[in-house]
Amino acid sequence: MEKMARVTTALGGNTITGRTMFCHLDAPANAISVCRDAAQVVVAGRNIFKIYSIDEDQFVEKLNLRVGRKPSLNFSCADVVWHQMDENLLATAATNGVVVTWNLGKPSRNKQDQLFTEHKRTVNKVCFHPTEVYMLLSGSQDGYMKCFDLRKKDSVSTFSGQSESVRDVQFSIRDYFTFAATFENGNVQLWDIRRPDRYERMFTAHNGPVFCCDWHPEDRGWLATGGRDKMVKVWDMNTNRAKEIYCVQTIASVARVKWRPECKHHIATCSMMVDHNIYVWDVRRPFIPSAMFEEHKDVTTGIVWRHLHDPYFLLSGSKDSTLYQHIFKDASQPIDRANPEGLCYSLFGDLAFAAKESLISSDSNRKPYIGDRRHPIFFKRKMDPTEQFEYISSSSTLSVFETDLESGSMDWFVRTAKQYALAGRPLAELCDHNAKVAKELDRDQVAQTWTMLRIIYSSPGTVPSANLNHSLGKGSTSLPLMNSFNLKDIPPGIGNESRLERSKGESRSENILMDSSSTLINNDENEETEGSDVPADYLLGDVEGDEDELYMMDHENPHAEEQEYILPQEAFPLRHEIVDNPSALDHLQDKADSPHVSGNEAETVSLTPVESFSLISISHSLYENRLPPDFFSPIVRDVLLFYAEQGDVQMAVSVLIVLGDRIRKAIDEQTQEHWYTSYIDLLQRFQLWNVSNEVIKLSTCRAINCLNQASTTLHINCSNCKRPMSNKGWICDRCRQCASMCAVCHHVVKGLFVWCQGCSHGGHLQHIMKWLETSSHCPAGCGHLCEYT
């Protein structure tokens, strides 16, 4: 309560002052109502019925209307209303169906005036006529509305809603004869007080009960309704059909709505369950409340503006047994806390970004991307600047960035995964091969990394350890903001920032490679894989015919020895972030190297004006003395961490596998396991089952290793007798026949066996494929329409 404000408003003679304050009631309140002069408030509930005067600093209890030894149910109020013409007159609706009027002018302690016991069920609402002193309206659970003349003992007229309970009744403020009633079944009816036989008009306003309604104090045609369906709707009743003009979606069922005085579009609401706050909405801005009062600890049951013409004071009663006066200055403004930027991906990788206009134009570092965007969409919305409490300009910009399909593809990932060699050959060869693969894919940095790894680790005897001159560019950490705007090439389906960055300039972005030796190995293993790991999803095996070509690493060998000396320095424009290199920075070299960006980047360079990257260059050895490979462990570790950080977990894992024990100890187990699982997950998403299985096999983490040991059983039926094959091998123990006969050539199948899950028949992969080209029925003649996926 530090920020309590004291507000003084002058209203035609009488002044209202006050601050945010509260007082404890003895019992939960059900409803509150204010006296015409805004100086007193009445609080009613099941066990409370009191009048408080609103002083400047506090509420003061003036009168307890709940008198008598054993208060009857007549005091158990569901609603209370204070007459706006006569300050001595109150009416309450009791839960037992009685409507009671109270006359404060009575000299006795008991102010109870009249008792109407005409309703059969709980009365939900009572309402005085705004200008007529003696006219009182009630709406009850029994589906009837009754109009009472306080000078008579009984009701003057009864209106039957012809439906379930009436939840609210409200006299129109301007229309003398009209009142609105809302119903539990979602309907709103308009009645003419003179015609009790039939409603004038009826429309369905909500799905489920309409708990409340309120006529607009100024605009005679507007009626606001709130329902259990969590909506507040504003209806224009001037036309023939009630027209919904505004709709506010809240987060809980709406118990009360009250138009804010003097503010045409503002409305206060509170909810019946779960949500304890009071909101004031601008109905034209239905997504965020313009003000919010969060004082109550249980649901708010009654809200009322303190004075008919004062928009700054709101009174509220709650189930938490407190009565509050809220001052608008102390309200919290959710809009201050809202994040005014929005970012969203579409299914196809397009990205929409909305932000305040000012924010975007103030972005001095980059030129506006109007050029980049193929289909930019702008819209602006200006709010009425005269509107009060409109602190934040609401004009904003929405931009949509389209994905470039070609460059956004993840081809490089798949190809790298397939072509990388991870094991089975000497380290140097593996590195060279992988470097070549990366090079072919225009991923120079990756290729360079491989080459360096080879230099660092392989054949220490022959290769004098290269002297690595790492010159560090400074700017590479400044990527994020800039890059996030360069969205042209986002790979579909991948949404993190590092991807954004990579795809932009494939040539030098850090990617991960994989190898084809994996597929070679898989060739031998194929049968086993199919039989064990992946039950039946890819019965037509994934072995591709062209893999062997990948092994022709023709021009790789010549460089075996001198490579590190021949390598032109321009070939090393690597972006690198390693910070721990102590070697001297060679600025000259740095400069010489940096222009070497790939052509790919040249296209995109305009999009990313500031794109600095660090360089690693390898110069001729300055030091003759060899360093033990261990010396580089921290560097390599950082390299791997860097790649993983950039989202290129492929590289991290591949290097990890290739280097094996050389590096493993430098990286903690958990990180390794994390990389492995990420990479395997990626591979499986691209359906690179063989590669992923190989990675699993080659991994040294126990947790990963056991991944392909799970659920390795494949249940099959004998194609002859259709029973499950229980024993090992291919002979069915029931019919004593070989179960794995090819249905096309009738020979025993060795190697790849594919079969239909419906009829258990199958055969050689090639044969079945050929067969299915011409026929869709089972080759065994069983009549089954075979399906192979």
């Binding site: 099941r46 149910l73 709980t122 708990f211 779960v274 249940h715 039926n717």
Partner: protein, 552 residues
Amino acid sequence: MEEREGEVRWDGLCSRDAGTRGAALENVRQAVLRRTAEISPAEEDPSPESSQGRSASATARGRLNEMLARLLMLSKRCPFRDVREKSESILSSVQELGIRIPRPLGHGPSRFIPEKEILQVGNEDARMHTFADSFAALGHLDNITLVMVFHPQYLESFLKTQHYLLQMDGPLPLHYRHYIGIMAAARHQCSYLVNLHVNDFLHVGGDPKWLNGLENAPHKLQNLGELNKILAHQPWLITKEHIERLLKTEEHSWSLAELIHAVVLLTHYHSLASFTFGCGISPEIHCEGGHTFRLPSVSNYCICDVTNGNHGVDEMHVSPTGSISTTESFCEVEALMEKMKQLQECRDEEEASQEEMATRFEREKRESMFVCCSEDEESAPTRDVSRHFEDTSYGYKGFSRHGMHVPTFRVQDYSWEDHGYSLVNRLYPDVGQLIDEKFHIAYNLTYNTMAMHKDVDTSTLRRAIWNYIHCMFGIRYDDYDYGEINQLLDRSFKVYIKTVVCTPEKTTKRMYDSFWRQFKHSEKVHVNLLLIEARMQAELLYALRAITHYMT
């Protein structure tokens, strides 16, 4: 899908397309005949087979029997004529091969209601399409559906809700849902529902070990046991501490959404158990106890047949007392109608004071404790269902009787429409709507008939029943005069209501017969619908109020 032995595909039968059904039936036929062929030689010369072989053939025999029982069910209960006829022909062809086929025990879905009163499956009727819907969804028509179809409007809503709770999107995994259903039904020893859901539970891949008792289920479900117990018998004792205990245990804690789902399931099955006993639902034909392979012989009549009035011996429904009391009970109806009329017309005649009204509620509440079935009534056949819950002794206890004073629950302070609905719908979207609809339909259902009279406004009577049930749970409506209950509900009716709602397992046919003797069976089923919905709402109100308290 790979077809495994013993799993004949039945799902094709649920299709609405006659061709698909035909194909599926043909498959079934072949499977049955194949199995029959496998078995018959083994039965003919058992000698050369090893003991292993014999046990294998015994299990094969068991599987065949399962299939035959299923076929028997189809031949009786499938809404599609072609399936019924074909199933029957398969059965008879099997019989010709010398294999014993099962026959149904009892003659109808209910032990209380003569079969001829119940809509025959196969009659061309507008209600058939409801059956077809249900059949298509479940693969069988259960007896509950067959009895509820007296009130098709309600049935539709009921099935929709149940389907949503069990099959559609929800926070709980499928096998949990069935297991919770089993837990809830077991509280009332309702073997019918337990059997039904044990099948479903296993079908969705539940662990059979859990069925050996709650202590074999995961901790999370065990924690729910306490709530289940209180909810079933003394819902007014639920406090926010109970909720907190479920939500706050570190390891096996429930999320709010899961809890709401579980609570809805629990209350649904508690009240469904009430219906099962209240209408004397007989076991499903294809479940245990619903059929026999023994040949019919005189001594073999099942008890339920006899008590049922289904059997030929006492075909006349009007029981021995009937002839004497016809006129008497005729007057009962008249008198009841007269009273209703009076209450409706001149309510203000005797204006009762507030104190009087309060006393009336208290009196009704108190009396409802003593309206109690005598304990010596034969107890329903309890089977091995008690294993699903501990502490059998913890039954319904009236509050006054044990000196406990429970503050009266005022419906005006926490009602389903205003509060409960919002909470449920918030945490388990759409279900609030479905349940709300169901309550509405049950509460407002009327045909404006009473026994032989037409154009009667039954709203006072329905409201009296509803409020009486809530009164038993301590729920008070400020705007209701509880004196009405006394005038409208006579003692035998109160006994029935009380028994069905609080201790459904003790319901007997005698109770069912002895109230409202002149009323139709459909009207008694209607009463049951009111009972179960009112009970469900009462339990829900207490549970949801506790959750609300927990949340604020």
